[in-house]
């Protein structure tokens, strides 16, 4: 199965057209809000996958799973890797205007063909309370 190189959630990214290098800006770990619901303009989940030679052109699906403390069940956003024979695939899930209805940990998971591969947690905290856990 393709190997996950990295998985991050950040504010924005940029891909240089000439060099194809990706730059990731403002990795999100903590968000502060005065009150709820809290709407964030946009965030982007980036996962980078390396395929072995015999996996090139294979059928693989990457799923971004968003677990929010306010939601009973998480939301899933699948995307299939292109069948092009490329060793490395970068997957970007851009969420525009996500709204959060509870303070606590937002857990972003990335799955490959249904199997959990990595998580990234963003803590949503109230502005005047730095440590809700006490």
């Amino acid at each position: 199965m393709p190997e996950l190189e990295y998985f991050l959630v950040a504010e924005s990214i940029s891909v240089d057209q000439e060099t194809n290098r990706v730059s990731i800006f403002n990795v999100l770990e903590e968000l502060q809000a005065d009150s709820l619901p809290f709407v964030y303009p946009s965030l982007i989940a980036i996962s980078s996958w390396n395929l072995a030679k015999d996996e090139l052109g294979g059928d693989f699906q990457v799923m971004l799973r968003v677990n929010s403390p306010a939601q009973e069940s998480p939301f899933d956003y699948p995307i299939n890797l292109s069948r092009e024979r490329r060793r490395r695939h970068r997957i970007y899930h851009r969420l525009i205007g996500p709204s959060f209805h509870a303070f606590g940990d937002l857990k972003f998971e990335v799955l490959l063909n249904g199997e959990h591969r990595a998580s990234h947690i963003i803590s949503l905290i109230q502005s005047d309370d730095k440590d809700p856990q006490g």
């Binding site: 000439e18 699948p78 969420l95 709204s99």
Partner: protein, 168 residues
């Protein structure tokens, strides 16, 4: 300026530099060291030449194609391929896939080089994206076990293709 840069790819000097080489690999190496190719890459990098201009130039160049005759623009097309070999834009993807899939001996040099480059581009990371707007219906997760090879995801992937690369 950009027209001049592009026309230099087919100059006598470029033709002369490869006249005694026959393998696509050797020709690709030689072309990549040519000033004309380096200048073109620089122009693409600094934005003074765009993919749209490249596309128009290729269309115009191909008007000279005659079945059964060596294509006069073969070297120019090969040099262009080398100039954009690491470029990760829609134009470059389309250019290499379409050129490499042709089976025409009228342009055997550029096709041979395109096939080589396409193979080498396996190392170039593929960027794929999906844009999810607030309120868009998403799968509410149940236990997910099987890969979903087709269906809804492809509709979203097509939307994602409209994404302009650069700051997202």
């Amino acid at each position: 300026m950009s027209k001049e840069l592009l026309s230099r790819l087919g100059s006598d000097d470029v033709h002369d530099s490869i006249v005694c080489y026959s393998s696509p690999a050797a020709i690709r190496r030689l072309l990549s060291r040519r000033r004309e190719v380096i200048d073109l890459r620089a122009a693409l990098q600094n934005g003074s030449l765009t993919d749209d201009e490249l596309r128009r130039h290729v269309v115009e160049l191909m008007h000279g194609f005659r079945p059964g005759q060596r294509f006069d623009g073969d070297v120019e097309l090969a040099a262009l391929a080398v100039a954009i070999e690491r470029r990760s834009t829609d134009f470059a993807e389309e250019f290499f896939h379409d050129l490499a899939s042709l089976k025409l001996r009228e342009l055997s040099m550029s096709i041979g080089i395109a096939r080589l480059i396409l193979h080498a581009r396996q190392d170039l990371a593929k960027n794929e994206s999906r844009v999810i707007k607030l309120g868009e219906p998403a799968h509410q997760s149940k236990s997910f076990s099987q890969p979903n090879g087709r269906g809804r995801v492809y509709a979203m992937a097509r939307n994602a293709k409209k994404f302009k690369w650069g700051a997202m």
